[in-house]
């Protein structure tokens, strides 16, 4: 066994809990170290979602052309922006603006509030943590096939962002949100939200704006530097801070898969998931090969916390079994817990289930479309890759059931449970390929 039961219990705690413990014990150097880890805690997940979204959009654009891409993205944008539009129509303009800004604050770019006037409130993304990041990192130049641009030359993520803005403005019936790229500064954008009825009143106090545009870890470190240790509220459940962005990106992916399935069929859906997601998961296998069991386990625990899951873990001979009740993406989607309460649920709006069984649905139907990527990566792992993330496809049979995910230890015998092989249409697991040998 890698851990004693007590060690395992301690290892499963979120970083935020460790930070509170260090603060209460006065171990401020340790707290600063944990805060550094917490500030980057969600980055792998954000990075994964960001690239998955753009890869999906890129493949759809490549395979079906710009009119289909435009139609699909605008439908998704209308659906995703509908809760914000509802708030604005109810007169909660400020709540909607704060919620939209918060989506970008969690992207680890830089957001600064501009001077608020009687008519508008503005923000400067310098640079933007999503579209700007992709642009600055030159993905469209280094991998133009996977990260294509539109005919008009727009980077894909920026085009998706334009759709969001357009959908919101259309839903509220006025140019509420405008975006202007900063001239001569790639990746920088200026946002303006028009106040519809503020009668000259300011929306935000200076402190409120500072809090809105600064991630909690940065605020906590600033307060610590000022000698103020009353930062419990900033630390507690910090892994939930980026939940709105997590859910937004997850819903974008699910909406696209839900639109593609009836339009292009399950064979194309499978192709789409393999091309855009399974290849992206490669980094997890490389990490598994490079790191020891303890580090791989800790990494996975952190990722499950930041993936918004509630879970328990059992260590067995050769493996760790995670019981996810629910999994932070697919499980919460099945329970209708994703996004603003009551806004998104399978069978309502765009979100669909797959109606015919295949390798992509663990051989059962109806099957939630988002969970297809787990079936695809299961098959991929069983075909010669390491096993850091095998999912039991029979676990999540009802929305209220828990999902089960298994992390195999590096020294474990490569004996796959027969039901896992059956679920993805295989008779036997292939030996580990030599490039992944520890």
């Amino acid at each position: 066994m890698v851990f004693t039961p007590e060690e395992l219990r301690r290892e499963c705690r979120p970083l935020s809990e460790l930070a509170v413990e260090a603060l209460d014990a006065g171990r401020l150097d340790e707290l600063r170290h944990i805060l550094g880890r917490m500030s980057a805690g969600h980055f792998e997940l954000f990075w994964g979602y960001l690239h998955w979204v753009v890869r999906l959009a890129g493949k759809v654009l490549r395979d079906f052309g710009e009119p289909f891409f435009e139609e699909t993205s605008s439908k998704i944008a209308a659906s995703l922006m509908s809760p914000y539009a509802r708030w604005i129509l109810e007169g909660r303009d400020k709540d909607a603006v704060s919620a939209i800004v918060l989506l970008w604050v969690s992207q680890k770019g830089r957001v600064r509030a501009l001077e608020e006037t009687a008519n508008e409130v503005g923000f400067l993304l310098h640079p933007c943590g999503s579209g700007g990041r992709l642009l600055l990192e030159a993905w469209h130049e280094n991998a133009p096939t996977t990260y294509p641009r539109t005919r008009g030359g727009s980077p894909l993520f920026c085009r998706l962002c334009e759709h969001l803005r357009h959908a919101l403005n259309q839903a509220v019936g006025s140019p509420f949100w405008s975006v202007e790229p900063v001239a001569g500064r790639s990746g920088f954008c200026r946002w303006r939200f028009r106040k519809r009825d503020a009668r000259g009143r300011p929306w935000y106090a200076a402190e409120e704006l500072d809090r809105l545009t600064s991630p909690r870890c940065r605020l906590a470190l600033r307060l610590l530097d000022q000698g103020n240790p009353r930062i419990h509220d900033l630390l507690r459940d910090q892994h939930h801070e980026w939940r709105p962005l997590h859910d937004f990106l997850c819903l974008w992916v699910t909406s696209l898969l839900s639109l593609i399935y009836p339009a292009k069929g399950s064979a194309y859906l499978s192709d789409l998931v393999w091309d855009t997601y399974v290849t992206l998961f490669e980094s997890a296998y490389v990490l598994h090969a490079l790191l020891d069991d303890r580090t791989v386990f800790r990494n996975l625990v952190r990722n499950w916390h930041y993936h918004q899951a509630r879970f328990s873990v059992q260590e067995e001979e050769g493996r760790f079994v995670f019981t996810l009740d629910p999994c932070g993406s697919g499980g919460r989607l099945c329970r209708g817990e994703m996004g603003p309460p009551g806004s998104f649920r399978y069978g309502q709006g765009l979100l669909r289930e797959i109606t015919e069984p295949s390798d992509l649905t663990f051989g059962r139907a109806p099957f939630p479309v988002y969970c297809t990527h787990c079936a695809a990566t299961n098959r991929d792992q069983l075909l010669g890759k390491p096993w850091p993330f095998l999912v039991d496809g029979d676990a999540l049979l009802r929305p209220d059931s828990a999902c089960r995910q298994v992390l195999y230890k590096k020294t474990a015998a490569r004996r796959a449970p027969p039901e896992l092989l059956r679920q993805v249409g295989l008779d036997a697991a292939m030996p580990l390929r030599k490039e992944y040998l520890p």
Binding site: L136, N142, G184, R185
Partner: protein, 97 residues
């Protein structure tokens, strides 16, 4: 004194050489390579697009092509000037010896 001046001249010529080298590289670098460098620096900081020196400089060059060219030409100019100054000092020191 002569030895010291010879050392100083050589040092300046070295500094000038590196100025010319980095200036020329920065002038010729492809945007996608600068993008890769920016990706590496942000990844080292856990994805943070931070205000640290290296990150800030790379961001400036990547986001603003004119700024990159200006910096490259300044580096080239400073490199040539340092090299010439170093050569002059070293020559003068050599003559006086």
């Amino acid at each position: 004194m002569t030895t010291l001046l010879l050392w100083l001249g050589t040092l300046l010529m070295f500094a000038g050489f590196f100025g010319i080298l980095f200036g020329a590289l920065l002038l010729r670098i492809k945007p996608q390579d600068l993008g890769r460098m920016y990706l590496s620096t942000t990844m080292l900081g856990g994805g943070e697009m931070s205000e640290g020196f290296l990150n800030r400089v790379l961001l400036e060059w990547r986001a603003n092509d004119n700024s990159r060219r200006r910096s490259a030409l300044r580096l080239l100019g400073a490199g040539v000037a340092l090299s010439l100054a170093g050569a002059a000092i070293a020559r003068a020191a050599g003559c006086s010896a």
